[in-house]
Structures are given as C-alpha cells and as structure tokens.
Symmetry: C2
Subunit: 137 residues, 2 copies
C-alpha cells in the first residue's frame, strides 16, 4: 500500500472513531490486534474504544500530525474533552481537559495489527489529579 | 528536503546523542527550539540532553520506528538504562529500566525547530516508583 493510500486508510479509521462506529472496524483492524503489548480480539479492541467514548461522550480524535510509511503510521492526536465517569484511572471532576496521544501503528495488508500508544498522563494528572481514582496507578 | 534526506538527517542527530556530542548540535537543531511548549535556546536544549546523560550514563537512543514527511519526523525510541541520580522526578534505585519515548519533530530548513515528546511514565513509575523523588510530579 502506498504512503498516501495508508494515510487515507488511517483517516478513514479516525473518521469511524469520531462517528462512534466502533462495531464496524473490520475494514481497519485485523481480527486480532496487539495494543501496547496486550493481545486483543477486534471485539475487545472495539469494546475498549467504545468504553473510552462512554466515559467521555465528547471524545473527538483530532489528528494534528500524520506520517505514513510502507506499513507504519505515526499520529499525534489532540483531545479536548470532558470525562463524565472514571477513565484511565482518573475520576471525573467536571473539568474539560486537553492532552495529547502519540500513537504508532503497524499495518498488515491495509489493516491495523499493532498499536503502541502513549498518552500525556502528566497533563491529565495536572488537570484531573484531584480526582485520581487510583493514586499511583 | 526529501523524506529520505530528512530521515538521514534525523539519524545523524541520534548518532550525535548516542556519542554524547551534545555541544555540537548546531547542524541538527536551530538556535531556538520549542520542546513540549517550552522555548529553549540551543544551549539550553543541549544542556537538557547532557543532563539526561549525566543522570543516566548508559543512556542510548534506540530508534525502532522512524517516519519522515516533508518537514516532520516521528520516532519511537526505546531505552534500557540505569539512572544513577534523580531524573525526571524519580530517584534512582539501582534498577535497570526499559521504557519508550514517542517523539514528533518539526524541521525547518533541515534542522529541528520543535519537539513534542512523550515518555512512558507509567512504565517508569512501575519500575522506579519506589524511588519516586516527587510523588505526583
């Protein structure tokens, strides 16, 4: 797959997330995917993403940098959102928070096979720290 | 600058870091650089990198994914190293730790003008947490 085609495929994946089509990711995600060294079925991966959106109803993936190689994508994603229930070990405070995700994806035959994702947990802690559900988690 | 040339330039930058040539980064870094929204002179940026290597003498940048665009680079970097003094808010424990950095770079005229970097602080906390110098930092 050419770089441009892979970038377009990735943008299709993000569009699916931003319209909360979590049950329809078979065009973008393999039957099994490894997320930060955790092996998940696509159903489990979709459930994880749906759970984020359930905890944060206004969650929107804003891709501000996108680089595509032969079978890899790197994306810098910004979020500005308001968690309404516990998420990522943090209790909600009512605050709207802003933070970045830096994610690398390995594609195979045009679909995501691996994801390595880091969130800016320091920024999240600074904005939601008072409501941390599991201190030190 | 073409993608391949930019990737080669980035690898030259990493080679300089891995041979601790922190005082000679003028070929790779602009006179001023913004690192995670902090504006630094190149001297301050070089001092920051030298300080990391001083706290972690066996620090080595192992680039496992590298994507280059017109003026952007994304790199996934792995570290396996042994901090010997306080670093990133963590006191050393003698433990050798492994963690990832996900960094995005904006180049201008072939030199780094901006860096957005995230470290896997959860992994670092899990491995050095007992020696955290500034809990919650």
């Amino acid at each position: 797959m050419q770089d441009d085609a892979l970038a377009a495929q990735y943008r299709g994946y993000i569009a699916a997330l931003n319209t909360q089509r979590f049950d329809g990711l078979q065009d973008f995600v393999h039957d099994h995917v490894v997320h930060n060294d955790r092996e998940l079925s696509r159903a489990e991966y979709q459930a994880m993403l749906a759970d984020h959106a359930d905890a944060i109803p206004d969650l929107r993936y804003d891709v501000v940098s996108l680089l595509a190689g032969d079978d890899e994508v790197a994306a810098r994603i910004l979020f500005r959102c308001t968690p309404v229930r516990e998420w990522a070990g943090f209790a909600p405070t009512g605050a709207t928070i802003s933070f970045a995700e830096h994610a690398f994806y390995r594609f195979r035959a045009g679909r995501i096979a691996r994801v390595w994702s880091l969130l800016d947990t320091d920024a999240i802690t600074a904005q939601l720290g008072g409501g941390q559900a599991h201190p030190g988690a």
